[in-house]
Subunit: 201 residues, 2 copies
């Protein structure tokens, strides 16, 4: 392995912290910072890193990303605060918001149960949801965890935790064929779920 000047090596190491970035790619990025980016670009890069790390927090109410204590969605009084969608990641909130369809609020778990990695329900942001349930502040919980094994496990756990609150309607995003999907190319498990969840036509 070729050793570059210390400063360059340090930057290569930093780039290697990013997901999927190995030595070669990190070298390419570091040389690009050196050769192609202007001083202004790099200054902005530095500011942006700093801002993301120091000025973005999790909303105290729902766990979503925000620059304030409480996020814009939780502060919005026009939304239905008795309908709560449970998602795994802040990213999911932006995806749902982009649909312009949902008018409730969120509970962002910031993770999912992963027994193999020792992540249990206690490591997720679930407390705000349970407190609201206890205080009788919820009509409906929509479980919008991923359609993965981890997501399923997490959804089941949350359903279990809420089972004492009989008044809360609990739903789950539907499984089924993707729109525009050809039966030939849909995997068997999805097809099975689509059959189980078939609707009156």
């Amino acid at each position: 392995m070729i050793k570059y000047p210390k400063y360059l090596e340090d930057l290569i190491e930093s780039f290697k912290c990013l997901p999927g970035v190995g030595r070669k790619t990190a070298e390419r990025y570091a040389f690009s910072v050196l050769n192609d980016l202007s001083n202004i670009d790099v200054e902005e890069f530095i500011n942006n890193l700093d801002n993301v790390k120091n000025n973005i927090h999790h909303c105290k109410n729902c766990g979503n990303l925000t620059t304030n204590d409480i996020c814009d969605i939780c502060q919005d009084e026009k939304r239905n605060h008795r309908q709560i969608m449970v998602v795994e990641q802040p990213k999911d909130v932006f995806i749902i918001e982009n649909l312009n369809e949902y008018n409730g609020i969120y509970n962002v778990l910031n993770g999912s149960i992963k027994f193999a990695k020792g992540i249990s329900i206690d490591d997720l942001n679930i407390e705000p949801l349970l407190e609201k349930a206890k205080a009788n502040l919820i009509d409906e919980v929509i479980l919008a965890c991923n359609a993965t094994l981890e997501g399923e496990t997490t959804a089941k756990y949350i359903k279990e935790l809420l089972s004492d609150y009989k008044d809360i309607k609990i739903s789950r995003l539907a499984y089924g064929m993707p729109v525009g999907g050809d039966i030939e190319y849909v995997d068997e498990l999805t097809l099975l779920r689509a059959l189980e969840g078939r609707n009156k036509y």
Copy 2:
């Protein structure tokens, strides 16, 4: 396209300045900075960016990367300063140095002639070489440009520029079969060059 909070969007834009990084990858990097990197990691990242941009310069003598005015290689009196290897990029210097074989100094062009992009010989770091030639400070110039069209063109130009100095021996890295290479898999042009450059055995 989903819009994230401004700070996050800004960081995504910064990552998009890196070579080969599109929107999706930039998002992944930005979320990784937010979720996976510790505060110390990010602080180091910021310092490393700053150091590379502000403390690494081109050596005034040869164009190589250095944190001083003159690089370590040019300062080394044990090296043969009358033998100069011309390379395109600082990276090439590190690759050659890694061989532990070459004991001369370098002239780093910091680019190659690219007519299509309007990069001519005047945009390259060639002046120090010509000055040394004029001052009769050179015995040998080794042209170690890349084996590409641009590298070839650049090498030809430099040979031309040095043609008045009859005492300077000019050489070029050999073309030929890669060591361990199978004739079946070597491209025709390389094979032709290997034939032209055949050695007494």
